[in-house]
Amino acid sequence: MNGLNTSEEKNLWDIRQSAGMVFQNPDNQIIATVVEEDVGFGPENLGIPTEEIWQRVEKSLEAVGMLEFRHLSPNKLSGGQKQRVAIAGIMAMKPECIVLDEPTAMLDPNGRKEVIATVRELNKTENVTVLLITHHMDEVIFADRVFVMEHGHVVMEGTPREIFSRVEDIKRYRMDVPQVTELAYELSKEGYDIPAGLLTVEELVAAIDTLKKSQK
């Protein structure tokens, strides 16, 4: 991490400044009773002057699309919204990297979509590195790089397309592939000429289209 060894205790605080963490349970990581105060908690700890805290809070709440909820109590928000507040709280500390530890594990499908969309948006517009830990393969397909871990070791590495072309390997690690990839894989196993590692519905539709045309 930034040339600092994560296992050394004295590097801890520097690392925490440059790498923000978002955890699984949205309730257990919101500290304040008002949304904007919670977002300000990180910058307060860093000793940032008051005016700048306000700017940062506003900016990061806007970045996650929660600016209109700034005066509300976190208890009134949905899970996805709470998780977005937590992300804003990390963004306000201006980290170079956000680590999200299964941020969608406790959310409903809508909340999951919200959070993933927010994270992708931040990655594009704010240029932060996003490290997403997840069990949901649908969330993986947007990544630039995927690491498959088992028992604390990296067992597979590559782009999502590379990873999901190796369906058998993935199954061996008792993991799923996205539904579309699974369907494409089964089709090609049945003898249809469909390329491996398809990630989206559109890609599969295109592949089947070209297949039909070539059969005519």
């Binding site: 605080w13 963490m21 955890f23 257990n28 990581q29 860093l46 000793g47 008051t50 709280g89």
Partner: protein, 270 residues
């Protein structure tokens, strides 16, 4: 049932009292409580009433709402009145067996009831007009001098604000666990006091376990956001005195001065 208690609640109206610095309100409430125990005469009582009524008017909190808060402590109030009435020695007015009501007791209990009522109204006015967050912030600032004698003021106020944040979450959780246990056949409603207390065990144990887990998670989340205690922290909403706060301090001093002056004057006359 918990929702019926209005003490400690925040009542949002946009009054000047709401905009006052929480430190002023804390110190003001403290001074008001002292003044309650200073006055001994009817005149003092009038001054205090005028002060309280004008503060209520300023706060724009409806009177009915304030009175509702008194309901929760009515038993305590009656208890005090009762003891004062029967156990103050003095000139006997009415006697039945060992029970007797004295003139002094009657006067005492009357004053005590008024004092307690005023005390409760005064302190609940503070919570009506101050958000819990402002209150903990104010408390931290007011108690800051205690830091010198090694009282962890910042930590205490942080604990208070976290507690406030988690009360609704834990209430919800209690409800969930209760329903889960009821679905497994637990009975929380029948039986004697002992049986009922025992039936709370399957509720309390999971609640505590989950509270500890939450505390652990929260501590990790706070550390991940570089929380290192109060040193070197800045404030997003620092407390700053405005001119209205100085005016409030001045009127508080005047009020306390008036009470003390009245006391001295009456003593001289008597």
């Amino acid at each position: 049932m918990i929702r019926d208690i209005t003490i400690g609640q925040y009542y949002p109206t946009n009054s000047i009292l709401h905009r006052l610095d929480p430190r002023v309100k804390l110190i003001g409430t403290f001074m008001f409580i002292i003044s309650l125990f200073l006055f001994q005469s009817l005149f003092g009582y009038i001054v205090v009433t005028i002060f309280l009524v004008s503060v209520i008017k300023l706060s724009k909190v409806p009177f009915g709402f304030i009175v509702k808060g008194l309901k929760a402590v009515i038993i305590l109030l009656l208890f005090t009145v009762f003891f004062n009435m029967f156990f103050t020695p003095g000139e006997t007015l009415w006697q039945f067996g060992v029970i007797k009501i004295t003139k002094e007791g009657l006067i005492n209990s009357g004053f005590m009831a008024i004092r307690l009522t005023f005390l409760i109204i005064g302190s609940s006015l503070m919570t009506f007009t101050t958000t819990p967050n402002q209150l903990t912030d104010g408390l931290e600032k007011v108690l800051k001098p205690l830091n010198h004698i090694k009282v962890p003021v910042h930590e205490i106020s942080m604990m208070m604000s976290i507690a406030l944040r988690f009360i609704p979450i834990l209430l919800e959780e209690t409800d969930k666990i209760m329903k889960a246990q009821m679905a497994r056949g637990a009975d929380f409603e029948s039986g004697g006091l002992l049986k009922r207390a025992k039936s709370l065990i399957p509720l309390l144990v999971p609640l505590f376990v989950s509270a500890f887990r939450r505390a652990n998670d929260l501590a990790m989340a706070m550390e991940a956001r570089c929380y290192r205690g109060g040193d070197g922290r800045t404030k997003m909403k620092p407390l700053r005195y405005h001119s209205r706060d100085y005016v409030a301090y001045l009127s508080l001093l005047l009020y306390l001065g008036a009470i003390i002056a009245l006391n001295i004057m009456i003593k001289k006359i008597v």
